[in-house]
């Protein structure tokens, strides 16, 4: 952060900046040297910031009208939908916003996997990211409970019961989580409290995530270290700001389509039935973004091991910087890894698909194979591949790709386009 000194031009600015260097910070953020070859997969960081702010703002306004009480929660949501000015709009933005948030975060994570952004020296950025992702899942789950529909109630029952798999203390923990002998009003009020808290924890972690990013600077599609600032970089403002804005607007068009034309397609019809502790819905399905992990949970026939498998599937990601032994970051120069990468993408999509299906017959078999492959990828393929794989030659700079390199390299196009 101290690679250039900033001195405000005005006297007051200097006085203020000496006491609280906000102007230095702003100057750092605007001038931040960014590799100029970043492609559109890199715009999702900005999009995610937008998602977080949208969720916080709409969430705050919804909280002004929502009543966290088992007898009134469902009714208060209907009140928001019917009577509150623009209440329907705010709620649909919030509900679909959660899905859009996860869509963006998955793209963000898989971008990192493809270009090796988790590797040294960016391990801390990656681990903070995984913590953010875990907190997002917690926030989304508890948020889904708040309307107090059938899926809310039974989703809460099923997920909290996962803790009963812990030997000896499991039952005690579940009762403690519930604040009673079943999911009920005490559970709802504490979930509301935590649902309100977590986004601000995420916000704090996002600041750390960006801070940690600004120490080594961005990775890039070529995956080599870039000298900063240099002819390989552009200042964050206006170059990256305008590009992120463009990508964000495209994202918002998709978002708007969901909100205005199919606001309930990502939800489940049963959640428009008020919670009833006496009747369980025919199929309990989590929201789409949790389906791959749900599939892993169900593919293990033992209760405790299933829970462990599901948790490991997420936590294994935190060890990824050390599991991947390859020194090369970008998959562009790792032909074998690239293939395994796409197999992993397919594997996760398959897990998501079978997670939505009943856990029986062929679906269960596929889920088990896909689960096994998921762990195989991280625990066996990645460590071995890094040692055995023959990688392609790496360019010395992102503006001077070596001849005979890969054809679809982003950098290879730079020369052609510069003639324009």
């Amino acid at each position: 952060m101290s690679d250039h000194e900033y001195t405000p031009s005005s006297k007051f600015g200097k006085w203020f900046n000496d006491r609280l260097p906000l102007l230095s910070l702003a100057s750092h953020l605007t001038d931040y040297p960014t590799p100029k070859n970043l492609n559109y997969w890199w715009t999702f960081g900005g999009i995610l910031t937008f998602c977080l702010i949208t969720q916080i703002v709409t969430g705050l306004t919804l909280a002004m009208h929502y009543i966290a009480h088992a007898d009134m929660a469902f009714e208060s949501v209907e009140h928001i939908m019917r009577d509150v000015n623009y209440g329907w709009l705010i709620r649909y933005i919030h509900a679909n916003g959660a899905s859009m948030f996860f869509l963006a975060v998955y793209i963000h994570i898989f971008r990192s996997l493809f270009y090796g952004s988790y590797k040294s020296p960016r391990e801390i950025i990656w681990i903070i990211g995984i913590i953010i992702y875990l907190l997002m899942m917690a926030a989304a789950f508890m948020g889904y409970v708040l309307p107090w529909g059938q899926m809310s109630f039974w989703g809460a029952t099923v997920i909290t019961n996962l803790f009963s798999a812990i030997p000896l203390v499991g039952e005690g923990i579940v009762t403690w989580l519930w604040g009673g002998y079943s999911v009920d009003n005490p559970t709802l009020t504490r979930f509301f409290t935590l649902h309100y808290l977590i986004p601000f924890l995420i916000l704090g972690l996002v600041v750390l995530h960006i801070w940690a990013l600004h120490v080594p600077g961005n990775n890039n599609p070529v995956g080599i270290d870039v000298k900063k600032p240099s002819k390989d970089t552009v200042p964050f403002h206006p170059y990256i700001v305008i590009k992120d804005t463009f990508a964000l607007l495209m994202f918002m068009i998709v978002f708007a389509f969901f909100v205005f034309y199919t606001p309930n397609i990502l939800g489940h019809a049963d959640n428009y039935i008020e919670a009833n502790p006496l009747v369980t819905p025919a199929h309990i399905v989590p929201e789409w973004y949790l389906l791959p992990f749900y599939a892993i949970l169900r593919s293990v026939p033992d209760k405790l091991l299933g829970v462990i498998a599901m948790l490991s599937a997420i936590l294994i990601l935190a060890a990824l910087p050390w599991l991947d032994t390859s020194k090369i970051r970008s998959a562009v120069f790792r032909p074998l890894y690239k293939q395994f990468y796409w197999i992993l993408v397919a594997d996760v999509l398959i897990l998501g698909y079978v997670g939505a299906m009943p856990a029986e017959g062929l679906y269960l078999l596929v889920a088990r194979v896909a689960t096994a492959y998921y762990f195989l990828h991280f625990l066996v393929i990645l460590p071995v591949l890094g040692l055995k794989e023959k990688t392609l030659p790496i360019p010395l700079s992102i503006t001077e790709p070596i001849l005979g390199g890969t054809a679809n390299l982003a950098t290879a196009r730079n020369k052609e386009s510069s003639i324009k």
């Binding site: 306004t61 002004m64 009208h65 009140h79 019917r82 009577d83 509150v84 000015n85 209440g87 705010i90």
Partner: protein, 169 residues
Amino acid sequence: MSEKKTNRRDFLFTATYAVGAVGVGATVWPMIDQMNPDASVKALASTEVDVSSVNRGKTITVLWRGKPVFIRRRTEDEIADARSVKLEDLKDPEKDEDRAKNPEWLVMLGVCTHLGCVPLNDKGDYNGWFCPCHGSHYDTSGRIRKGPAPTNMEVPKYEFVNANTIKIG
């Protein structure tokens, strides 16, 4: 860069900023408007009160839009008192005839115009109302006579639906 090119660029950026600002405004409005009274609150904007059981010299207090409304059936003395006051003696000059169309009935918001407390009935130096919070005295027409309150107690929009029923709002 030629001058013409610069102008075109400026226009493009200005247009982008302007269109973007419109969108930000349109997005912010719902977040602000959601705090305004909602449709169910607005629907309760009027209330009807049966006053047939109120005797002379008595006041009933009813709730309207979350605030107390005083409905007083005044005695002849109180009416005479209220109507005999000279306008120049009043802090907020207003004729009693304008405040109580039907002299027998005084309908007003039971909210002190100083800082919103509820004044007490049949109290104070003018036999009307007295606000315990900061000592404002109101007369039998609900007009401010002494103390910090700046104006008379407000008369809401109301009408007699029939001889026994008042509709407020």
